[in-house]
């Protein structure tokens, strides 16, 4: 059975419909990428899964149970953690305090301050620094560490390469195998299609609130993806 599954998931911003019946599945320990142009509905999809946007209860199932429309706090307690787009660190908190906020859901597991510092040693050096004083890449590490601190079963990364230098993006993705070593399931949302294909086993492409293509990341051709991405 899939760890997370959505059936005919719809989402709205007021009267504006942003998602039109998304069917999505991810198995345990799988890494799945979601790609698509700006405004395709990728972030809306993630917000709906995390509870920041309303959804029908039966439209989202996590570990076999319906969770659509639950409050974000309830969803993180069940084991879905999000690295939000733009990082969204707490600006008046230090690096360590930001990480500790991630542990608020009090789930037990392998991740704690020590293991996160092990993963990103630079954060240990900067533990007392205000999070706003870090470089973009370091801030992204804090955002990932903060999400891991809740010991999630499903980690959702929204555009973690956005606005970062390619070398920094590579450094962050290099940490991914260690993050997944314990069998963590990951959804990666990316605008960088090459990177998305490289790190994921399967891939969904979205356009205008619908899934236009899905399949094993390695088997999809450039033409298929361009077709699904731009609709031309």
């Amino acid at each position: 059975m899939a760890l997370l599954a959505t059936r005919k998931l719809e989402a709205f911003y007021g009267d504006f419909q942003a998602l039109f019946g998304i069917d999505f599945e991810i198995e345990r320990s799988e890494i799945v990428a979601v790609i698509g142009a700006n405004g395709a509905g990728k972030s809306t999809f993630l917000k709906t899964v995390c509870g920041l946007l309303k959804a029908a209860r039966e439209a989202v199932h996590f570990d076999g149970e319906p969770i659509g429309g639950l409050r974000p706090g309830r969803i993180v307690q069940r084991g879905i953690a999000m690295v939000p787009e733009g990082r969204r660190l707490f600006s008046s908190l230090s690096v360590e305090e930001n990480l500790l906020m991630g542990a608020y859901a009090r789930r037990s597991g392998p991740w704690n301050l020590a293991t996160v510092y092990d993963l990103f040693p630079i954060l240990k050096e900067k533990r007392a620094t205000p999070s706003t004083a870090l470089s973009g890449g370091q801030q992204q590490m804090v955002a990932i560490g903060r999400a891991l601190m809740s010991n999630p079963r499903l980690l959702i990364c929204d555009e973690i390469s956005l606005g970062l230098a390619p070398i920094v993006v590579k450094e962050i993705y290099n940490a991914l195998p260690r993050v997944c070593a314990g069998g963590l399931t990951v959804i990666v949302v990316e605008q960088d299609v090459g990177m998305a294909q490289l790190v994921s086993s399967r891939l969904y492409c979205m356009q205008e609130g619908r899934v236009t293509l899905t399949g094993p990341s390695g088997d999809l051709t450039r033409e298929q993806i361009s077709q699904a991405y731009f609709g031309v």
Partner: protein, 292 residues
């Protein structure tokens, strides 16, 4: 010369009272950007509450107000938590107007309720002579025991609140929710609960401020808006989100008023407002701003 020293000392002590008025306002504003226009009226409500409780407990006047305050603290916390959860949370949005209108309405309700129950006569909480006792500082200078106690308590409140804010998990939650409510929700925080805790704690401070204010001087049901003004000025002068700033703001306000009073008995309050306006013009974010 001694006259000036006396003026400054009295001003600092008065500033302690203003800082105490402002501490709860500073917390609420710092955590949820809510301007509680009923803040002064809640202080007066607490003063009258302590007045009635002190009369009811049947102890000697030297002990009754303190027991009354002790009894009032849990009630104040519960009232603050409940008010935030049931009413104020519903008024919070990007638009500041609903919360202003609602708290303004609450202010009117409190003033009229107190007027109905206690009439417009000024009253004071009997403290068994504490309000007239004084401590000699030497060199012909003496300060009132109660104002000194109020000042010490205000300093303790500022330190305590700053430590709570900077060093404890609940303070971390306050700052996180204040920074980014949605991101805090993603961590599993319920912002409605965090806001209600902040208001509950603010009401503890209000209960202390109201009781001591009622012991120091007379209170009447229509006094609230003036206290709100002093509290608000102290918060703005000190800078948002810093409790030491709020303490400094209260002291600056108190000293300026005392200096004004020395020039002319009609100038004190006016001098305080001038300093506040000058602050808004030259340093609108206050002396020690922590949050934006």
């Amino acid at each position: 010369m001694l006259g000036w020293i006396d003026t400054i000392v009295q001003g600092v002590l008065l500033g302690g009272l203003y800082a105490m008025f402002a501490m709860g306002q500073s917390l609420i504003f710092g955590v949820m950007r809510l301007t509680n226009t009923a803040h002064g009226d809640f202080i007066i409500l607490a003063a009258f509450g302590a007045f009635s409780l002190a009369a009811a407990v049947g102890l000697p006047a030297a002990a009754a107000p303190w027991l009354a305050l002790g009894l009032m603290l849990p009630i104040a916390f519960a009232a603050g938590y409940g008010l935030q959860r049931a009413v104020l949370n519903r008024t919070l949005s990007h638009d500041p107007l609903p919360s202003l209108v609602v708290t303004f309405g609450v202010a009117i309700v409190i003033q009229n309720l107190l007027q109905e129950i206690y009439s417009a006569d000024p009253r004071s909480i009997e403290s068994g002579g504490l309000n007239t006792a004084s401590v000699a500082l030497g060199g012909g200078l003496a300060v009132g025991t109660l104002p000194l106690l109020i000042f010490v308590l205000a300093v303790a409140m500022a330190i305590g609140m700053q430590l709570l804010f900077d060093r404890t998990p609940i303070g971390r939650a306050f700052r996180a929710v204040s920074d980014d409510k949605d991101a805090a929700e993603l961590m599993g925080l319920d912002h409605r609960h965090v806001y209600a805790l902040a208001t509950g704690i603010a009401f503890l401070l209000v209960a202390v401020a109201g009781t001591l204010h009622g012991m120091k001087t007379t209170v009447s049901p229509a006094d609230g808006p003036a206290l709100l003004l002093y509290a608000f000025e102290a918060v703005i002068i000190g800078g948002m989100g810093s409790f030491y700033g709020t303490l400094a703001g209260g002291i600056i306000l108190g000293v300026t008023q005392a200096i004004g009073f020395r020039f002319d008995p009609g100038w004190g309050i006016w001098f305080g407002h001038i300093v506040f306006l000058a602050m808004l013009v030259f340093r609108p974010s206050g002396l020690f701003p922590k949050t934006r």
